[in-house]
C-alpha cells in the first residue's frame, strides 16, 4: 500500500518577461524540478493582487510563489517594487490570520536564470513540505471567509496609500 504522503500544492504567478521566461529556459535546458507548482502567467509581478494570494491559500494552495524581475530590471520600470511592498504587508496579514507568512514567497528570477528558477522551485517545494499542509483558518467557518476578504481589501488600501 502506498504510503500516504502530503504533496504540497503551489500556485505560482510568474512575470512573463522574467520568471516565466526563466521557467521556459529551465525547460529548454531540461532542468528537472518537482511538479507541485502550477504556473499562471502574468504581465508583471505588479499585477499580482494580494487578494489572489489569499484566494489561492483559501482554495487549497499550500504555498504561493510570485516570480518577478530583479530590482532595477522590471520590464515596466517599477512593478516589482510595488509587488515587494504589497507582499511584505500581506505577510503580516497572513500571520494575523494564523497562516504562516512563509506560504507566500516573492522571488526575483531573470529570463536568463533557468538554473535559478529550477532551484527556487525545488527549494520552495521543500520549504512548504516542511511546513506541512496549509491548515490556516481560511475556508473553515463562513465568517472567516468574510474576514479574509475584508482584510484583503484593507491590505490593498494600505499598500496603495502607503
Amino acid at each position: 500500500m502506498a504510503e500516504l504522503k502530503h504533496e504540497p500544492k503551489i500556485a505560482a504567478f510568474l512575470c512573463r518577461w522574467c520568471a516565466y521566461a526563466g521557467a521556459d529556459l529551465a525547460g529548454t535546458n531540461r532542468l528537472a524540478y518537482p511538479p507541485n507548482m502550477i504556473p499562471i502567467r502574468v504581465p508583471c509581478s505588479g499585477r499580482v493582487e494580494p487578494a489572489w494570494v489569499i484566494e489561492a491559500l483559501r482554495s487549497g494552495a499550500d504555498g504561493v510563489l510570485i516570480g518577478g524581475c530583479h530590482p532595477g530590471d522590471c520590464h515596466y520600470v517599477s512593478g516589482n517594487y510595488k509587488a515587494r511592498r504589497r507582499v511584505e504587508l500581506l505577510r503580516d496579514v497572513l500571520a494575523g490570520l494564523g497562516v504562516n507568512p512563509a506560504r507566500v514567497k516573492l522571488v526575483w528570477v531573470s529570463a536568463s536564470e533557468g538554473v535559478r528558477f529550477a532551484q527556487v522551485v525545488r527549494d520552495y517545494v521543500e520549504e512548504i513540505r516542511g511546513l506541512g499542509p496549509n491548515r490556516g483558518e481560511f475556508g473553515v467557518p463562513e465568517e472567516v471567509d468574510d474576514r479574509a476578504g475584508r482584510i484583503a481589501q484593507a491590505v490593498e488600501q494600505a499598500v496603495n496609500h502607503g
Binding site: 502506498a2 504510503e3 500516504l4 504522503k5 502530503h6 504533496e7 500544492k9 500556485a11 512573463r16 521566461a21 521557467a23 521556459d24 529556459l25 529551465a26 525547460g27 529548454t28 531540461r30 532542468l31 528537472a32 524540478y33 518537482p34 511538479p35 502550477i38 504556473p39 499562471i40 502567467r41 502574468v42 504581465p43 508583471c44 505588479g46 499585477r47 499580482v48 493582487e49 487578494a51 489572489w52 484566494e55 489561492a56 482554495s59 487549497g60 494552495a61 530590471d73 520590464h75 515596466y76 520600470v77 517599477s78 512593478g79 510595488k82 504589497r86 529550477a118 481589501q153 490593498e156 488600501q157 499598500v159 496603495n160 496609500h161
Partner: protein, 657 residues
C-alpha cells in the same frame, strides 16, 4: 463569453510532449471541462496541417475560444492567433497552455500528465473570460523633432530626412556641431574631427527635409506618441542671417570681451560672434547677455560697422508651435565644471586644464593653432601630467561611474603632445586602462610603447603651484613608489556629466533620468534607444558617456526607431491594456502615480490613454474599488484559473508516495 464553445488542441510535439505526457489522457480530461466542445490532439499543431486543423475546427464547431496546449506562448502564440484570425476568430480569444517547457521537459511520469491537465485547465478558464479585442489605432504626425545638434543628433536628423521625412533640429547654442566640433583629432584613427564633421553639418544645412533651429529651446511639450505638440522658443540672434556676409566687421567694432565658450574659455570673444568659422547656421549671433547695446542705452557699434545692415536690435524671440510624431533626444554631455571640483587645483591653478581645453589647444583651428602651450604664460610645456578619472570612479566625492572616453582621449592627448613637443615628457596617471573598442587597445599600446609615454598606475594625492611649476604628488601602485613631477601643465580627464538643463527637458518630455541625470532607457539591454515614454528616442551621450562611433550608431538607431513610427500608416497599440469601469471609479487617483508611463489622468473618473498604457496591470492591482481592469486578465479570470489549478483530485494525496 455568453455561451462558451472552447476548442482544445493538444500537441504531441513529436516525442517532446507525448514522450512524457499522456496526451490522450490530457485530451480526454479537457473534454470534460464545461464549455469545451472539442478536445483533440495532433503530432505537430504548429505544422501547416495542425494549423489547418485548428482553423477548420473554428469554422465547423463555431468555436469562440481556442486553447492550444503545446509549447510556451513565447514560441507559437502569434502562430495560432494568426491562424485563428484567418479562420474568422478574434485572435485575443486564443491562448497557449505551456505543457512543454514548463511541464514535459522538466517532469516525468504520471505527475507530468497531471500537471499538464492542470495547466490546460487554467488556460481554459482564462479563455472563458477573454473578450474579443481590437488593437487601438490612431493617425499621427510624420515630422520628427531632434533635440540637440551634436553628432548624434546630426546623424539622427540626416537618417530621418534621407528616408523622406521632415525633421526639426533644435539646438540651443548658436551652431550645430556639438562637442565633436571642438575636438582636435579623433581616436584611434587621428582623423581631424572638424574635417569629418563639417561635411555632415553642411549636409544638414542644405537638406530640404531638415529645418535647423539654432539658438532655440524646447519650451513645452504636450500630447503623446505620434501626436506631440511642441512649443519651441527660437531665440533672437539680432543678426539677419540672409544679410550677414560673415565679414566680421562687427566683431572688430564690439567693445565687449567675454570668455569664449567654444574655446573653453581659453580666449575671449566679442558680444557679437560666430562660434567657429564653419558654424551652421552660418551667421553671427549677438549674445544678449553680454551686449551693451540692446537697452537701455544703445552702444550700437556693431550696427554702425555692419555695411550689410544685417544687425537688427528689435528682433524678437519667436515662439513656434510644431506638431511632431517622434522625438529624438540627443542633448549630449559636458565635463565636470571647475566650480564643482577644487581637487587637483582645477579652477585655481592656471596651468591645470581640462581635457576639453586641451582639445581646443591641440586643434589646428584653436586659439594656439594646435601648439600646446601653458595658459599661464604661453610657454611650451616640457613636462605634462595627464590625470585620468578626474571625478570619475570616485563614489565618495564625485561620480561613481566610468566616463568611458577618457582612457582613449588621454592616450590621444599624450600622443599629440609628443608630436607637438618631441623632447617633452608626458605622464599619465590611471586607475585602469579601459580600451574596449575597435582598434582602441592597439592605439593605447602604441602610445605607451612607441611614444614612450610614462603610464603610472595610481591616483594623484596632491597638485599644487610651486613657482612656475605645478607639483604633482602621486603614487605608482605597481612599484609602490612615490612619484613627484614638477609639471608645466596638468590635464584633467574630467568626468562626463549630462548637459545642463537635461533634467528640466526630461520633465517636459515626461521621460526619466537616472541618479546622475543621464536619460534613462526603457530597458538597459533590450530597449537602449527608447525612453520610457513611447515615441521618445535617445541618442548619444545624453543617455550615458559615449564616444563618437557609439553616438553616431545610436543616432542612426534612434532614427530607425523614429522612422518605424513615422512610416507606419497609423499607430497600432495592443488592446491588452488597462480600462476603467467608470461607474465604479471614484476618481480617488490612487492609480495614476502607480503608472510608470503616465498613461492615467484623473478627471471625473480615471482615464487610461490607450496609446500610452503598456498593460502591466500595476494600477489594476492598486485600485481599491475594483474599477480598474486589465483586459483579458481580469481578477475573475485569475481567480477561476486558481481554482482550476488547485482543484482537488482524489488521487492527489497519494501522488509521489
Amino acid at each position: 463569453m455568453a455561451q462558451p464553445r472552447i476548442g482544445v488542441f493538444v500537441c504531441h510535439c513529436g516525442r517532446n510532449i507525448a514522450g512524457t505526457v499522456d496526451v490522450e489522457g490530457v485530451t480526454e480530461e479537457a473534454s470534460r471541462i464545461p464549455g469545451v466542445v472539442l478536445s483533440t490532439h495532433y503530432d505537430y499543431m504548429c505544422s501547416d496541417p495542425g494549423q489547418e486543423m485548428v482553423a477548420r475546427a473554428i469554422r465547423e464547431h463555431r468555436l469562440n475560444g481556442v486553447v492550444v496546449a503545446a509549447c510556451s506562448p513565447g514560441m507559437h502564440e502569434e502562430t495560432f492567433r494568426h491562424a485563428a484570425q484567418a479562420a474568422g476568430l478574434n485572435p485575443y480569444l486564443v491562448e497557449m497552455a505551456n505543457i512543454r517547457e514548463q511541464c514535459s521537459w522538466v517532469h516525468r511520469g504520471a505527475a507530468a500528465t497531471e500537471k499538464a491537465s492542470r495547466i490546460l485547465a487554467t488556460v481554459v478558464e482564462k479563455v472563458r473570460g477573454n473578450l474579443p479585442l481590437e488593437p487601438s489605432t490612431m493617425g499621427h504626425s510624420t515630422k520628427c523633432l531632434v533635440i540637440g545638434g551634436g553628432v548624434a543628433g546630426i546623424q539622427a536628423a540626416l537618417d530621418v530626412a534621407n528616408a523622406g521625412y521632415e525633421v526639426l533640429l533644435v539646438e540651443r547654442s548658436p551652431s550645430i556641431g556639438g562637442r565633436m566640433a571642438q575636438l582636435s583629432e579623433t581616436f584611434p584613427t587621428l582623423d581631424c574631427s572638424q574635417c569629418i564633421l563639417t561635411p555632415k553639418m553642411v549636409e544638414v544645412d542644405r537638406h530640404p527635409n531638415i529645418r535647423v533651429l539654432a539658438n532655440s529651446k524646447i519650451e513645452e511639450v504636450s500630447g503623446f506618441v505620434g501626436n506631440w505638440d511642441v512649443r519651441i522658443r527660437k531665440g533672437a540672434t539680432y543678426v539677419d542671417p540672409d544679410k550677414c556676409n560673415l565679414c566680421g566687421d562687427c566683431v572688430e567694432a564690439c567693445p565687449v570681451r567675454v570668455p569664449h565658450e567654444f574655446e573653453e574659455g581659453l580666449t575671449e570673444r566679442a558680444g557679437i560672434y560666430i562660434p567657429f568659422p564653419q558654424a551652421i547656421p552660418s551667421s553671427y549671433t549677438l549674445d544678449v547677455q553680454s551686449c551693451l547695446g540692446l537697452k537701455p542705452l544703445r552702444c550700437s557699434e556693431c550696427a554702425k560697422a555692419c555695411e550689410a545692415g544685417a544687425i537688427n536690435y528689435d528682433m524678437q524671440d519667436e515662439l513656434l508651435e510644431e506638431e511632431v510624431g517622434a522625438i529624438v533626444v540627443a542633448t549630449g554631455y559636458e565635463t565636470l565644471p571647475k566650480a564643482a571640483m577644487a581637487e587637483y587645483g582645477y579652477g585655481e591653478i592656471a596651468d591645470v586644464i581640462s581635457g576639453l581645453e586641451y582639445e581646443r589647444m591641440a586643434s589646428a583651428s584653436g586659439p594656439t593653432q594646435g601648439e600646446i602651450r601653458c595658459p599661464s604664460d604661453g610657454r611650451v610645456p616640457k613636462e605634462v601630467v595627464f590625470i585620468q578619472c578626474s571625478g570619475s570612479r570616485d563614489p565618495e566625492l564625485y561620480k561613481p561611474y566610468c566616463s568611458k572616453i577618457c582612457c582613449m582621449y588621454t592616450a590621444k592627448h599624450a600622443l599629440l603632445y609628443r608630436h607637438s613637443v618631441p623632447d617633452g615628457q608626458a605622464y599619465v596617471f590611471y586607475i585602469d586602462i579601459r580600451a574596449g573598442g575597435k582598434g582602441y587597445e592597439e592605439f593605447v599600446q602604441r602610445v605607451m610603447e612607441e611614444e614612450r609615454i610614462l603610464y603610472l598606475r595610481g591616483k594623484v594625492a596632491k597638485v599644487f603651484q610651486d613657482g612656475d611649476k605645478v607639483m604633482v604628488w602621486g603614487a605608482d601602485t605597481l612599484t609602490g613608489r612615490r612619484v613627484e613631477v614638477a609639471a608645466d601643465l596638468v590635464v584633467l580627464a574630467q568626468a562626463v556629466v549630462p548637459s545642463q538643463g537635461v533634467v528640466d527637458l526630461a520633465r517636459k518630455l515626461r521621460v526619466s533620468v537616472d541618479e546622475h541625470g543621464f536619460l534613462k532607457e526603457a530597458h538597459p539591454k533590450l530597449r537602449p534607444l527608447e525612453a520610457l515614454a513611447a515615441g521618445v528616442f535617445l541618442a548619444g551621450a545624453a543617455q550615458g558617456p559615449k564616444d563618437i562611433p557609439e553616438a553616431v550608431g545610436q543616432g542612426s538607431g534612434a532614427a530607425a526607431k523614429a522612422l518605424m513610427l513615422l512610416s507606419s500608416p497609423e499607430l497600432v497599440h495592443s488592446p491588452e491594456i488597462a480600462e476603467v469601469a467608470e461607474h465604479l471609479c471614484s476618481a480617488c487617483g490612487i492609480c495614476a502615480p502607480q503608472c510608470p508611463y503616465e498613461a492615467i489622468t484623473v478627471e471625473d473618473t480615471a482615464v487610461v490613454n490607450e496609446m500610452l498604457c503598456e498593460g502591466c496591470g500595476t494600477c489594476v492591482a492598486a485600485c481599491p474599488s475594483g474599477a480598474m481592469n486589465l483586459r483579458n486578465l481580469a481578477d475573475s479570470q485569475v481567480l477561476a484559473m486558481l481554482h482550476a489549478a488547485l482543484k482537488e483530485h482524489e488521487e492527489a494525496e497519494v501522488l509521489g508516495g
